[in-house]
Subunit: 222 residues, 2 copies
């Protein structure tokens, strides 16, 4: 597949949120609350996007965390639990396959950038902690776009910021909603399917599916 | 608050999904999977809405159920579990406070309609099983609107279908995203907060908050 720039999603695509379930258990919430929190956060962020707003990720993250935790028997007060979990979210590691994937893209001379619905600062810190920031020519946030992904204008903003036409960009993401939105906006798409799940029929299918970041480079021609 | 028509949301506002947790347990999934499923369903529906699509609720319901169940150790095959849970979703009861609320609105001569992101047929069956269909002059679905709620065009469609100006309509809903979208679209809003939760700061606050459907009528002047 022809492509001169790989645009990585950040949350769960680069960052590894697997440890969050244990952090929820530490404050007394069932481990499944981690997945409910993140689904609720995105649900409400996308709802505001559909209503024409471009909300702040941090506000949504804190507010939806407060809502899901309020229903749970915590072992500390709500403010402390929210603070502790938001701190943990700011300290996530990257997935173990990311470094190899970036090295393979570098060897093939494929440009790399990131586009997050979160804050640019959070994404930059994530990559710096992992020693991988240097691989990315841009670390972009929808904070500077008209709307969150998967609205078309978010991908359009990234294409403009990277001075690259939409069809020359391949979005890499673990979330089907991101693959769907990018495809509708005119990008190429690579679904990073680490856990071997089925792709949902209601979303636009990816151009390419890989199980591991290191497989991405071989699928692309710069 | 002046209002000639009350427009009820349907899922969780009229229908009682509390029993779904037990249905999930019956197929071997943790009871918390029910909440994760419904949050994921709305997340993906709103994502498609933000990307400019008007998806079918039933397709989203089945597809996202399949995805959340695939990660769980079920006591039967995936197809059977999905089928059983979708059947249960089609047979939900209405909340115990709904009949009183509708009777109070009727006594005050306030018109009543419903607008669902689900199928009109599912909402109609729900109300018929409860013997309450007669209270509603319209049972509307976003299937016939340009987009799902909370896109402004969904509320606009309902206003047109009911031949009532937006500011004369009060949306009643349990979900803050629906209150927010309706307020942005120009409707009045009544948050039905049955469990006494806090309203999230990132959503537009409701005009009125009630704990029980029977309190709605007293807040409105036809």
């Amino acid at each position: 597949m022809k492509c001169s720039l790989v645009l990585f999603d950040v949350n769960e695509t680069l960052s590894d949120m697997g440890g969050m379930a244990q952090h929820f258990e530490e404050v007394g919430a069932p481990p499944g609350t981690a997945a409910l929190w993140f689904a609720s956060l995105l649900r409400d962020g996308f709802a505001l996007t559909a209503a024409g707003v471009n909300p702040r990720f941090a506000e949504l993250a804190g507010g939806s965390l407060r809502r899901v935790l309020a229903a749970e028997p915590l072992n500390r007060n709500l403010d402390d639990a929210v603070g502790q979990l938001l701190d943990a979210f700011q300290q996530l590691p990257v997935h173990s396959d990311v470094a190899d994937g970036l090295a393979a893209l570098a060897r093939r001379g494929i440009r790399v950038a990131a586009l997050t619905n979160g804050a640019a600062g959070t994404a930059t810190s994530l990559l710096e902690r992992a020693g991988l920031r240097g691989h990315f020519e841009e670390v972009l946030s929808v904070e500077d776009a008209p709307r969150w992904k998967p609205a078309a204008s978010a991908y359009g903003y990234a294409a403009e910021a990277c001075s690259t036409p939409l069809p020359d960009i391949a979005l890499v993401a673990v979330h089907p909603w991101d693959i769907d939105g990018a495809a509708r906006a005119g990008l190429r798409t690579v679904w990073l399917n680490r856990d071997g799940a089925a792709f949902p029929a209601y979303a636009t299918a990816p151009d390419v599916t890989v199980r591991h970041c290191a497989e991405i480079a071989a699928c692309l021609n710069p």
